[in-house]
Every structure is written in C-alpha cells, then in structure tokens.
Amino acid sequence: MRFANNFPYGRAPFWLLVIAVVSVIVRVATAHRPEARPDLVMVTHTEAQFDAYRKAIPRFEREHGVKVQLQFANWASLQARLQNAILADTEVPDLSEVLEGALGFFTRGPIEDFGLLDLTDRLHADGLDQRLVQSRLSVWSARGRVYALPHDVHPVMLAYRRDLVEALGIDVSKLDTWDKFVEVGRQVSRDLNGDGIVDRYMLDMRYDGNWTLQILMFQQGGQLFDQQGDVAFATEETAQLIRWYIEQVRGPHRIGYECGWGQPVVKAMTDGLVLFQWAPDWRSWVLANEAPDLAGKMALMPMPAWTPGGRRTSTWGGTGLMIMKQTRHPELAWQLAKYLYFDTADLGERFRATNILPALRDAWKLPEFDAPFPYYSNQRIGRMYADLAPETPPVYSSPVDEAARTGLDRAFNRSAAYYAQHGEAGLLDAIRANLAEAAEDVRRLAGREKILAKGKP
C-alpha cells in the first residue's frame, strides 16, 4: 500500500491504473476469435421460423459436411446494426431474414454499396423465378434485381364468426364487393341494448388507418412507391379510399372498430363485438391459437372486391432471406437458402405448423394444403389461400419505405381531424391536400436517395 500512497497522482488514479491494466489483460486473453466461426451463420427473428429451421438444418449439415449456426435476434436491434456493420465492413452473418418493407433499408446508395448478394441470375438459372409467385419478387427487389428470397405470400382473407353471421341471416357468398359489405355492415353495426354505445361492429379496422388502410390500398392496386421508386400514394384512388375509410371508422354509420392485438382481439371476437377480422395466412394461425374456444365457430372468406369481379385479396407483411455479399461461402449460402425455403419435403409440415403459404407454387400440391381445418369449420384453408395467392398485389420497395408509411398515416390523421371538425364539407379536397403534402415530404427524401444512387464512390 505504500506504493499506492506514494503514487504521484494519488490513490484513486493508482487503483484505476491497476484496474485498467488488469482488465486489458483479461479482455485480450478472453477476446473472441473470428476463426471460431462456423461455416455459415444465419439469423432469424421469428420464433416459429427459428424452430422450423432448427429442425431442418441438421440434414443440410450432414449432406454438405459443414457447420451451420442459426441465431435468433430481435429484429429492431438487428436492422440498424446489420446495415452499419455492412457499410463499415465489420463482421456480419452470412444469411439473415428480413421483414417486408425493410429491404429498402439495405439497398441504399449506388449498387456497389449494396451489402446483399444479387440473386436474380441464380433464381433464373434454377428456374425458380417461374415457380414462385411473381408478385412476391417485387417485395424483395430493388432497381429491378432481386436481393432476397421470398418466404411467403401472405394473401389476406377475412375471418368471421360463422355462427353469429349465420344467425343474423347473412349469406357471406353474397358479400363479394365492399359496397355490399358496407350495406350489410351498416345494418349489423348498432347499439343492441339501447345504452347509446354501439355493441356490435362489422369489421376490425385501425382507428388511425395504418395497416388496415394499407391492406385496402394495395388491394385496389395502390402503391406506396412505383417500380422506379417514385412516391405513388398521392392518387385520386387513395384519396377516395381515405374518404371511404374515414366514413367507415369515424362516421355516424361506422362499421369499423379497432380491437388492438392479443387479448383484446380474443375478447372482441368472443363477445361478438366485432364479426369480421383480418386474416392473412399467418394471422389465421395466431387467431386459432389465441382464441381456442371459438373452434368450429369461425370461418374464412375472401375479401370483398372493390369492383365486381375484381381482386379479392391483398397482402400484409412478409419475410425474406438475404445473403450478404461479404460471405465467405456464397455458393454454400445459396444452397442453404434454397434448401430452407424451397425444399418441398418440409414445406407441407411447416404449413401445418404455421398456416403460412410458401411462395413456391409447386409446394401447394402437397396434401397438407387440402386438409380441412376444424377451427375454421373444416374449410380447406390451404387451398383457399393458394387459390388467392396468384392475385396478391405486388409491393414495391424503397429506402424511404418507413417515411412513406409514416407520411400516409400523417395524411390520414390530419384528414380524420378535419372530418371531426368540418364533417363532409370539403373533406375530399382536404384529403387531397394532405396526401399531396405528405407525398411531397417523402418525395424530398426519395429525391435525395436518387442522387445518392447515382453517386460516385
């Protein structure tokens, strides 16, 4: 201790120095070595997929004699870290799953900067681009090239309380357009016990637009961006859609009510507070799991179309698989990606476990897709989703996707606020103005992206 006391700078700096030296030695001794890395590292962020791949990977490892490590990571923490690591040339996984709408995040700037392997030629060489649902390739493309493999299609249907709907004498086969749906909805959505509060609504609709609005917009053929990456949501159709939507969710004869997520949805469906619910393939499984008491009482129907004979489905969400350009084994990674996504042997079982329709059309011939589903009144929901799948609308990606969705929400909320104050008078003009303003904001950002995309290194 004498040494500590005699240290010129004093005791505290002395001990800090000691701790500093010791900790550096320990850190260097225990540092992670990059050679300890397995041949391939893949990251996923959905539990269901994590379980499915964990079962499938050992066979791949045996067949190719390699070591593959599968990791689970939270998507929000993964997204920015991954892109920053790509741009700074630090360690990245070999493969990573990615959520719909996020591809643009990774395909920013000039093509040389993209951290992802261009899969277009490989898809073409294996003939896969013909065997996948065409519209899904749009979700995972940037500048005309494909950068991720589509995991799913996610066609959207409506799930409904078959028992309650039949008791009301409604024939769902007649609800093939939104006009008819709304007409019936108005009769259904009312105050049943005279206390002034509406006790039954026709459809679950987000109060602030958000994903419900987007589903309907895509169904109409509307887009956030067009194929060239230009902002495309400030159209007359979208304005009319917003007006229609405000009417259904805020108007005096509204048919929509926001149920939220999880327990509140179960309660709403069980109590009959809401008769119809949004059911893309993944959600049909979620609903069945969260509300098991409704087994046999539920059924699915295609979405009503906007025009007679029009598109009866839309799409919501999606997962893709990207391969990093930095990977040391690109061919092996490609084999793994194809194996996990397109090896038909497993796809039937995965459908049974998650209800998710794969993007590979060949897989739909498997028997699991024709199995009756007791929860949904023994409907062959696999077949129903598969029949709708070719009609799912494309969704074009952009680096400013996040800003576009926020902008659309903002335009909607402003328009709804206008409606609350002024009613129908001038509403459509207000909507057009709000849309144009939001689009202008996003266009400014997208314009910056265009400059960068041309840019020089």
């Binding site: 700096p13 800090l16 701790i19 850190r27 300890a36 040339d89 630090t90």
Partner: protein, 307 residues
Amino acid sequence: MNILQMLLLALFVVYVGFRLLGRRRVASRFARWTLLTLGAVVVLAPFAWLLSAVFKDRSVLNEYIFLPPVGLWSEKTLNLNNFRELFKARPSLTGPVYFWEYVLNSTVYATCTTVFQIFFCSLGGYALAKYEFRGKKALTLFMLGSMMIPGVLLLAPLYKMVVDLGLVDSLAGLIIPGMVGTYGIFLFRQACLAVPNEMIDAARLDGCGEFGIYLRLVMPLVRPMAAAFCLVCFLGNWNAFFVPNVFLHSQDKLTLPVVLNLYLGEFRQDQGVFLAGTTLAMIPPAVLFFALQKEFISGLTSGAVKG
C-alpha cells in the same frame, strides 16, 4: 384520503400550528427539514423501486409498488431469476457472449481512457500553468474555442475516419480518440497554478529534470484535483452511450449502456432482466463516488465559483 395524504396534511397542520403559536423560527426550520426530507424521499423512491423490482419474478412485477406485506412473500417475491436470465449466454457471430464481458468492455474503456486522460491532461495543464512559451496564447485561445464546439458535430466525420483507419468496432477505436480533452487540461491548469513558483525554482536549482519536477513535485500537490478528475472522467466514459453505440457493432464488443439499451427492446415483456443489468451498472460509479465525494464536489465547483 389515504395514509399518504393524511400524513402530508398532518405535516402541514403542524407547520401552520407552529406559525400560529408565534414560534416562527421553529416553524421555518420544521418546514425546511420536512421539505428536504420529502424531496429526498421522492428522489430516492425510484432507486428503492429498482432494488425491489430486480428481485421480483416477472409475473409479480407489477402487483405491489415495492414489496408485498411480509406474510404474502413467496419464492416469486425474492429470487434471482432476473439475474440468471441476464447472465445467460447470448449468441454472436464469434461465439456466445456473457454479461461479464460487457462489464469488462465498459471497464476497459472507462479506466483506460481515464488513465490516459489523467496523464496527458495533467502534463498539458502543468505546461500551460507554469511555462511561458511561444504560441501559448494562440494555443489557449484555440483550446477555449474548441470547447465551444459540440462533440456531436464531429461524430459523423470521426466515425468515417475511424472506419477508414480500421479501428471501428474495437475498444481501441473508442479509447484512442478520447485520450485527451481540453476540459481536463483546464482543470489541471487551474490546480497547478496554485503551486508556488518558488518550490519549482528550488527544484530546478537542485538539478531536478523538468519531467521529474512535474511528476514528483507538482502532481502530488494536485492530488485532490486528480481525484476529482478521475471521478468525472470515469463517470463520463462509463455512462457514455452515443459514441460507443455508433462505433461498436459486434455483440461481443459492446459496452454496458449500449447493451442495456438493446435489451430494452429485446426484453420488453421481461423488464426485470434489463433492470437487473441497470442495477449492476450503477454499482461502480456509486462505489467510486463514495470514495471520492469530497474531492469531486470541490473540483466540480472550483471552476464555476471562481469564474
């Protein structure tokens, strides 16, 4: 009217009572200490909550504010599950990472930066205080000006430079740019000014080298300031978030604030886990502060009060 409100009302009544009885001085002393105690309770309440929360099971986290009455305690009330979950290995690209590694990273970063800063800033501060040399005025002006520039302005180009130098995603890349700072130099300059020139002259006449004078004569005389600076620098780096968050990418290199921020998103359903991490992260600063309280307070305020 619950107990808390009745208590507050009673305190108020006592105060009014004192004033009405004409005992104004007692009244104001009573009011002063009551207010201070209430303030202290409010300030300490989040800490108390934190300490009780980290030992609770996630299913009972929100049942009682602090702890249930003793009779209702179960193994769910006080257990170490949160810490067990916290210490579990997490996957990374180069093998599993454990919580102690984050603590180690933070320790290396904070202590090394502080040690370097003490050395370089004291050298620079002493030079500014006790020497006249060509360019001193210009250098001092430059230092003053540089203090006015917010660090955030330099972060983006500094990041790019660190990437280009290959130092990104490493603790060295964090420590090296932070090895010296003008704040420290001015602090040490202030302290060194107080050293009598006669002592230095005498030492020179004795044949002591310049560095020897600095190390063996002056530094021991400014130990209080060195201790205060130690604390300030260590605290600043232990709690630093922005720069480490930008510079570090790999899971095994992260420091505590960065990791805890990540856990905030990952453990949204299981808040006890990152709260446990937060509690552990608070310990080293608290320990150091207890040891260096006096020096810290006097060092912190000497710059402001003397102007």
